[in-house]
Subunit: 385 residues, 2 copies
Amino acid sequence: MRVLILGIDGYIGHSLALHLLKKGYKVGGIDDFSRRRRVTEVGSNSLTPIASEVDRDNLLGTFNDFLGRTRLYLPGKLEAVKTILRHYEPDTIVHLAEMPSAPWSMMDALHSFITQSENIVGTLSLLWAMKEVCPTVHLIKLGTMGEYGTPELDIPEGMIDGCLISKDYGPCPLDRLPFPRSAGSFYHLSKVHDTHNIIFACKIWGLCSTDIMQGVVFGLNEYSSPEEITRFDYDEYFGTVVNRFCVQSLIGHPLTIYGAGGQTRGYLPLKDSLQCLTIAIDNPPSPGEYRTLNQFESTYSVNSLAKLVTECALDLGLKVDSGPIDNPRVEAEKHYYNPVHQKLFKLGYVPTTDIKGEITKLIGQLDAFKSRIRPNVILPKTKWR
Amino acid sequence: MRVLILGIDGYIGHSLALHLLKKGYKVGGIDDFSRRRRVTEVGSNSLTPIASEVDRDNLLGTFNDFLGRTRLYLPGKLEAVKTILRHYEPDTIVHLAEMPSAPWSMMDALHSFITQSENIVGTLSLLWAMKEVCPTVHLIKLGTMGEYGTPELDIPEGMIDGCLISKDYGPCPLDRLPFPRSAGSFYHLSKVHDTHNIIFACKIWGLCSTDIMQGVVFGLNEYSSPEEITRFDYDEYFGTVVNRFCVQSLIGHPLTIYGAGGQTRGYLPLKDSLQCLTIAIDNPPSPGEYRTLNQFESTYSVNSLAKLVTECALDLGLKVDSGPIDNPRVEAEKHYYNPVHQKLFKLGYVPTTDIKGEITKLIGQLDAFKSRIRPNVILPKTKWR
């Protein structure tokens, strides 16, 4: 099985590449290293000291030259993308090459333009290249549970599979329409736009795609040498909430709960994300099929996560306060949340249920890098309004 | 009432400007004249000889210098857009400044990139400028009925206002979620993306917007001098179906019915579009409200339109054949179609119901420009697959 990872230098991309290589898959990838640049630009760093671009190439040992630095989203790069597909001949493409931060996309107009145009044109470029070079290859696209928002009703896996009762018309069967999306940032909206574009490409060109609505990932990858460790962001832009809380606990910073803390989302450890992506790789959809997987272990509110991190930190002898702060986002701070997530379980996903154990382990791992923490990147500066 | 029209040089933009000026509104506008350029690039022309850019400025007499040629979609132009809003102080903004052609967007990868990035970034730019300069101004955005696709169930006006019965969960109220979109081209998808972005901007910034899902427009504007006439496209890219059929009937070209001809859409004459837009201008939504209007007079299949045009042309002594051709698009050629369109009627829209009279009048008007028809732009060259 030959897997092409777009965004192979990232948090998940690097971890997935090593995970697959160790399992005997052939792995190639591209990256424009924009994540490294953007984290530097916001004044932060990866908490883990990651290998240089060149050392990562050597470590993976799978890059050809032309599989190196390619900017997927530049229209002029379409021919380069087609050349990569033609020469690498992947069975599966895992598309992680997008700008992944909600606050970054909300910083100002320019950041929203870059987020949406890069993510949309990058994905369109990939779709056109696949159509012309390898229309039967399985495309795995990383979306986000955030596409659905918090609609105050049960969230299915992608499509509505039910019946609509409207005041005007009575019951109408819903013919595999996408569940309405209510995303909460220009970044999350860019993923919604991708979803609509991919559904259309599958319909008209017969491409086959797994669109993964992933929950919030936390933790580190398994590493047997320092070069294998993945990047770990903890700033307001590129850090996700559990990772940020764990770092805050290490330096005695009050956990930054935004607003009332009732915001509930699906979460999963990084190793589960790798497990699920591998399941998706091993179990492609039918030719021409567009399939959605809701990928997370369980749902937690921000308050319950803060409580878990606090308990784990206390067990490790750390003293932690929680510090509710004005919510920089516009979002429901208390809401109903019940998304379906059955398909991955049916395909064999065995979730890590010991979330406290995972958090305790993570804080322990991060302690080695404590001196690298930059406290000034912790508090949120970007506001939605 | 001060109205700012973005895309004031276009088919609807020019007509709306004159219509409003004659009714006593103040009108300003911007345009980058890309429609003129793109029609030339595909080898076609406006069937009507339209005034030069300079003459149109003089005719309208409302442009300031900086209200001239501005490319809304260039990130670097955000400050220019804000300056225009600050100096012009509109009460209403009518946003028509988008690439409007489905086949053009499907020509190749590059055309899909341009369509989506220009339309999305242009609208985002406007939203950010409004947020910063004039957040209470009424934004009227031209969307398309094509956003909904043909979902085989009744289509409401924008939001779902009903109850979802799903197999897994039983009944759930739908809390004003957008009706799922199933657009049929990268152009139509760009409008879907706009819709999602605008809903979000209204939610987080309190902007107020009317999002118009317009049917297919046909016909000419009322003109009292040659300079007042609007452009009229009849090529495969920028011509709409009734306009194309009328031109074909004038030169004895078989009417180009794509596939089985059962494709059904909402239609309205240009003068009704102007009437409806004026109603929307005069009746803004509440502050912070996002409102959808489905704007069309009635639904027709392509076959029934071909029949109507044939009958009208025969009455005028023209001989017309219909020539079914392979459908270049991927679309249902026979389907259920029943969209709601109540809100504009409730606001006072009196539709033109004599569609045959309109078509007969149009063919008569176009006869004066018959010698300008370029027959080689009629048959479709762009295929969806």
